[in-house]
Symmetry: C2
Subunit: 179 residues, 2 copies
């Protein structure tokens, strides 16, 4: 006789997301997630294939938040850059997971990634025209993701004002890309 499910994929991903932000990727264990949703570890395998795919789902969840931020931001380079950075400050572990490497199963869905680059492509096209939009978008994304990654990693240790360096980068890119 069937028994009602005691948890759900939605609950599992939400629990994973919370645990990730609290304890980082090493804390995101099947045991921790199972405890949080109130089942035993083996039960999770009725809902996700394995830990890798759970990590991928959590990354996808974080990516959705990032996309919402970008969609709601001002449609210029400064607006997108600040939305990018704001998301990283709010969900540092989620941010890193979105841009992390690892096996395909642990990566967010390529289609979702493509959708997230939409607002950046639009801003790039506004700056340089349709012909160079892809190259310009890659320049912007590389700088923004690199800057935020270094900031989160505590890599800016030579003093100076990090906020000032961020605004400096926005201006330098805007100048370098403007037609």
């Amino acid at each position: 006789m069937p028994t009602p499910a005691r948890t759900s994929i939605t609950d599992i991903v939400a629990a994973g997301r919370d645990i990730l932000e609290a304890d980082g990727p090493p804390g995101l264990t099947m045991q921790a997630v199972a405890t949080k949703v109130g089942v035993r570890p083996p039960s999770l395998y009725k809902h996700v294939k394995n830990r890798e795919s759970l990590v991928g789902l959590v990354a996808g969840d974080a990516l959705r938040d990032l996309r919402e931020r970008l969609d709601g931001a001002d449609s210029d380079l400064a607006g997108l850059a600040h939305a990018f950075r704001a998301f990283a400050k709010e969900s540092p572990q989620g941010y890193q997971l979105v841009f992390a490497l690892g096996p395909d199963a642990s990566r967010p869905d390529p289609a979702a990634l493509a959708q997230t680059s939409q607002p950046i492509l639009r801003v790039a096209a506004d700056l340089v025209g349709e012909g160079d939009a892809l190259e310009a978008a890659r320049t912007i994304t590389a700088w923004a993701s690199g800057f935020v990654a270094m900031e989160l990693a505590g890599a800016f240790r030579l003093g100076g004002d990090v906020n000032r360096a961020f605004d400096y980068g926005v201006k330098a890119l805007t100048r370098g890309l403007a037609r």
Copy 2:
């Protein structure tokens, strides 16, 4: 009676570096390193504090290689950017480890990181003058590290020529930073 050491910190770090490139961070286990240098796992703890610090030493070793590349490169933005990318292609796992997050013990020595930024600071000063050199260097490093990280992660999936996008970024930054 003392027995001669059967391995050394040098051997251990070199073995760790090889294993990292072959199998990635998950493969870099104490057991794998011990097997490679010909001892049992517990013996490693006579040479390193724990796995975290071993990872930090391996990251430091990769960072030394990156520094050598940068020191040998042409002293302009294009030269440094290509040296950066060449190192990442040769040692993708080592590259990622250098720019990864994680606990302090697993990160390369801050002083070594500072020394690596030296050639970038010099190029930045050439472009924008001493006053803005730090901000310009951070813009360059953020873009280069972000671009290469995305390339390694396979994040450029919208078609187009990645080499062209790289050169486009070099030109955009040079233009945006030039006085």
